[in-house]
């Protein structure tokens, strides 16, 4: 039986990297969005520039699920190299769309799916003489055919093409022509629409469609970051590039052309973080964007920034590790690396945004936190969030908000005779005052060093002052609990003894998994952790549930370890749910894992924590 579904299916495009398919596939995805139907697209690409297989998947989801679903209802198979695997991955009853210019033996097709062959290459060879045009328009032709097959209004696609080529009007007509060619061919040769189709709806509202890395970069702009030092690495590169683009638009003085920012592509990650540390020391808001291997190189400096108390923001867009692992796949495997970065006793503040909306929000917040706490702040993104475009609520900004520079003693305050000791805990929160270099002719200067010093920044190797300092740093870390974003609780429909902790990009699939679990009669309270150090709400949540699942995308249950260590939780109480093959975790996976391992019914304490 062919799959029948309106506004709820997964279509996957199998292409060859470098064939120009990316923009055509995006065009397809956005057309669905323009029909008012939510989408959740994802890139699946190799660590290579050209020639290797690449996939783009669009989940069309009336319910607005943002996670990956798993499974493929329709495969657009444009890559002979991956044919067998692609055809095999189609759900029974699904659809295969392929280029039938060359005959495919029946043995290479499946009985239980609907096969739609269109001689794309022949059509292009007839129509175009230029090889590049043949390639590019082939993509547009299949978008046209899909519009007919899936009942997408071709005018929506045309509008998008019009937007895309604004300023290059010459290109519009040939694209329209290719689109119509595909559309008309499908209409005359196939029975359109298929069992899976798109129906106009009004479910997008004012949502925006944006890449997580771009959102974080925009957050950095709004957070007042002026110095960016970075070294290229997938999947974080587009963050620095987006920052440069946004600054070019928003931070150049129109009168003078002066740039109110400085971006340096450093020689490596060590230099990148060194520059961030130097700029932070000198009172500018500075950040770097990197991934796991970069964080590994930055360790020594991260310890210095922690110990010498220098603000710094690090966007870590996580990928599959260890080492060069799976550079173009997603994981959440840098949690421990960042939480305890560097040697000696260190602890760092981590933020876990989910999706672009929070990437923007936490991106901006990170700079206030770094200044307030005078310490490195890690914004923990991942490839799934960073390198994919997601639908999300529009970005928000309150014009009354001010950049909070934290405890900086000014020349006036020094002049007025305020006591200054760089490492004095004046307010009991563990956060000392600092001065910017050059602030005052005779007061407030101090020496910054990684070696131990007393409260007045004077070098000493004595045990007392060292311990005093290390304890103050712990007090400061405790203060940080009040500053990081609070966890978000999503209570079950019915009282339950089962809890789930999740974070970052895993949360999209988790939201949907809760629905799947409820359908199966399994009720769970879910707590989404958004920051480290963990606040008491996290500890209370664990205490209030007999069994707590910790869902994450790494092999070693890194957040679970952090919970055990930092909240003193009995390991037996935390059941890991781990997905780490490099693809985004799915609701199906979470729901199945949890359902198979849950115990019993709710406790009164579980209710208490929810109220």
């Amino acid at each position: 039986m062919p799959i029948e579904s309106v506004n709820d299916f997964v279509i996957r495009f199998a292409n060859v990297n470098g064939s120009g398919s990316a923009s055509a596939n995006l065009l397809f995805a956005r057309s669905v969005m323009r029909m008012g139907v939510p989408i959740a697209p994802r890139n699946i690409f190799p660590s290579n520039i050209q020639g290797l297989p690449t996939w783009y998947e669009v989940r069309i989801t009336e319910a607005g699920h943002l996670g990956a679903r798993g499974g493929v209802d329709m495969m657009v198979a444009m890559n002979p190299q991956t044919w067998d695997k692609d055809v095999a991955s189609i759900e029974s009853g699904g659809y295969l769309f392929y280029d039938s210019s060359r005959p495919i033996p029946a043995s290479k097709l499946r009985e239980d799916i609907t096969v739609i062959g269109m001689p794309l290459t022949d059509i292009c060879n007839r129509e175009y003489s230029d090889p590049r045009q043949r390639q590019l328009f082939k993509n547009i032709i299949y978008v046209g055919a899909l519009a007919a097959l899936l009942d997408i209004d071709p005018e929506e696609v045309e509008k998008l093409i019009g937007d895309q080529f604004k300023g290059k009007e010459k290109l519009i007509a040939p694209n329209f022509k290719a689109l119509r060619m595909g559309y008309d061919y499908a209409k005359t040769h196939f029975s359109c629409p298929l069992g899976i189709r798109v129906r106009r709806a009004d479910l997008i509202g004012d949502k925006i469609f944006v890449e997580g890395n771009a959102a974080a970069a925009l957050g950095a702009v709004y957070g007042g970051a002026t110095v960016c030092a970075w070294y290229p690495i997938t999947p974080s590169t587009s963050l620095a590039e987006a920052y440069e683009r946004y600054c070019g638009r928003l931070r150049v003085d129109p009168a003078t052309g002066e740039k109110k920012y400085g971006i340096v592509q450093a020689e490596d990650e060590i230099a990148a973080i060194g520059m961030v540390v130097g700029a932070g020391w000198n009172g500018a808001r500075a950040f770097t964007a990197t991934s796991g291997p970069g964080i590994s190189l930055m360790q020594e400096f991260l310890g210095l920034a922690y110990f010498a108390e220098i603000p710094a923001v690090i966007f870590d867009v996580q990928r599959g590790g260890p080492s060069t692992g799976m550079p173009t796949r997603t994981q959440q495997s840098d949690v421990l690396l960042c939480a305890y970065a560097s040697h000696g006793d260190t602890k760092h503040v981590l933020l876990f945004p989910r999706g672009p909306h929070e990437a923007f929000e936490f991106g901006a917040l990170a700079f206030d936190l770094a200044d307030r706490l005078q310490t490195p702040i890690f914004v923990m993104l991942d490839l799934d969030t960073g390198m994919n475009q997601h639908l999300c609520a529009p970005f928000e900004w309150d014009d009354k908000r001010h950049l909070d520079r934290g405890k900086v003693m000014t020349a006036e305050e020094l002049e007025a005779g305020k006591e200054f000791g760089r490492y004095l805990d004046v307010d009991g929160d563990g956060i000392p005052y600092r001065t910017y270099p050059g602030a005052h002719p005779s007061k407030g200067s101090f020496f910054t060093r990684g070696t131990s010093r007393d409260r007045y920044a004077r070098y000493t190797e004595e045990g007392g002052p060292y311990q005093d300092n290390m304890e103050r740093l712990l007090r400061k870390f405790d203060t940080a609990k009040r500053h990081v974003p609070a966890p978000v609780l999503q209570p079950a429909a019915k009282p339950t003894r089962v809890g789930v902790i999740h974070y970052g990009s895993t949360s999209f699939a988790m939201d949907e998994a809760m629905l799947l679990l409820t359908e199966r009669g399994v009720h769970v309270d879910a707590l989404r952790v958004r920051g480290f150090p963990f606040s008491h709400e996290v500890t209370d949540f664990i205490a209030a549930h007999e069994q707590v699942f910790v869902v994450e995308q790494n092999r070693d249950a890194q957040l679970r370890t952090l919970l055990m260590v930092e909240c003193g939780v009995d390991p037996a109480q935390l059941t890991p749910v781990l997905h780490y093959d490099g693809t985004p975790i799915t609701a199906r996976f979470i729901a199945t894992s949890i359902a198979s391992k849950t115990i019993g019914a709710p406790t009164p304490e579980a209710r208490k924590v929810l109220s």
């Binding site: 740039k259 340096v264 230099a271």
Partner: protein, 351 residues
């Protein structure tokens, strides 16, 4: 070991500069280096240069890596903010600091281990980025703080204290700086204050990457016979290319030099360097000739010192990046935050 404060007392007839400061205002804590260490002489040359230029100490940011040499910023300019970073990575920290506030005067102090080994890359990149700074390598040809291992600038054949000869080729920091486009390159000797002080003054006034390789004998581990970085050896093999005086644009000094061998080189702010040429036709404006000349001297076992190269119209990192003239760390919310209205437009463009 704790920090030592210096007792403060003033001699009534003490010298005072344009700012009304005495030499004491440029001092730091008492040095804890070995008595006679070349690095201490460099510290005092730095203090002298800053005093003579009447630089406000608090406007100087002094940064260093790790090593005996890198400890020295504690021992001068007590009113300046200082930063002991990590081993070999001072250049990136200085670059970042300079990005944040272009208005301060940046002084980077490093060792040959710090800059020619672990930090070789950072040294190179800070120079090629034309960071406006004075970068001094206190070059003793050994690792002092870790007790006497050869460094990457140790000359081939130079002997360790135990008599072992170094088998590897040395890195010539001056040649590297020249290759990388430094716009001010000099070499000097900690034992030659007359040459070193005006060089540091000129470097501080230079608006670009100024590099000084200063040979600075290590009393403890590299001052024996057979070493090519000992006091005696350097004194005996110093081939000065020129001697110079620094003429401040604010208060020109006149010097009495022999006619014919004299050259005034003007710096960006009207101050000048008066060069007395010692090595015949040596031209401080010819980068490639400088390299050849230095190599020839080295082949003869001589160490060329003096002002080696100068570009009188240097550019710096900020000029290249097009950054605002107002320091980035002084920009406020209005400069930096585009606001809700701009965000609404961005939102609209993402639909």
């Amino acid at each position: 070991m704790t920090y030592l404060a210096k007792p403060k007392f003033h001699h009534p007839a003490i010298e005072i500069n344009d700012l009304g400061f005495t030499h004491r205002d440029y001092e730091g804590a008492i040095s804890t280096l070995c008595a006679g260490c070349g690095h201490d002489s460099i510290s005092s040359a730095i203090m002298r240069a800053c005093f003579e230029l009447s630089l406000p100490p608090h406007r100087i940011a002094k940064l260093s890596g790790i090593g005996c040499s890198s400890k020295t910023p504690t021992y001068f300019l007590g009113q300046s903010h200082g930063f002991n970073s990590v081993h070999g990575r001072m250049p990136s920290v200085l670059t970042g600091a300079n990005l944040a506030n272009r208005d301060l005067i940046y002084l980077g102090v490093s060792g040959d281990g710090d800059s020619a080994s672990i930090g070789f890359g950072q040294f190179a990149h800070a120079i090629r980025r034309a960071v406006n700074m004075t970068y001094i390598v206190e070059n003793n040809g050994v690792y002092g703080l870790t007790k006497g291992q050869f460094s990457a600038t140790s000359d081939k054949g130079s002997k360790s204290k135990k008599g072992v000869a170094n088998a590897d080729s040395p890195i010539d920091m001056v040649a590297i700086a020249l290759q990388l486009g430094a716009t001010f390159v000099a070499r000097s000797f900690s034992g030659d204050k007359g040459q070193l002080v005006p060089l540091i003054k000129a470097a501080l006034e230079h608006k670009g990457a100024a590099f000084i390789d200063c040979i600075s004998p290590c009393i403890a581990f590299n001052n024996h016979e057979g070493s090519t970085k000992s006091f005696d050896y350097v004194r005996a093999h110093n081939a000065a290319l020129n001697s110079l005086d620094f003429l401040s644009g604010r208060a020109p000094i006149t010097a009495d030099y022999a006619e014919g061998a004299m050259q005034d080189v003007t710096l960006h702010d009207g101050s000048a360097i008066r060069l007395r040429k010692l090595a015949g036709d040596y031209d401080i404006h010819d980068r490639s000739a400088a390299l050849t000349h230095l190599h020839r001297l080295a082949d003869e076992g001589e160490i060329g010192t003096g002002l080696i190269y100068l570009d009188e119209a240097p550019s710096d990192m900020h000029a290249r990046l097009g950054t605002a003239t107002k320091p980035l760390n002084a920009l406020g919310d209005r400069d930096l935050v585009p606001g809700a209205a701009a965000l609404a437009k961005i939102n609209a463009s993402l639909r």
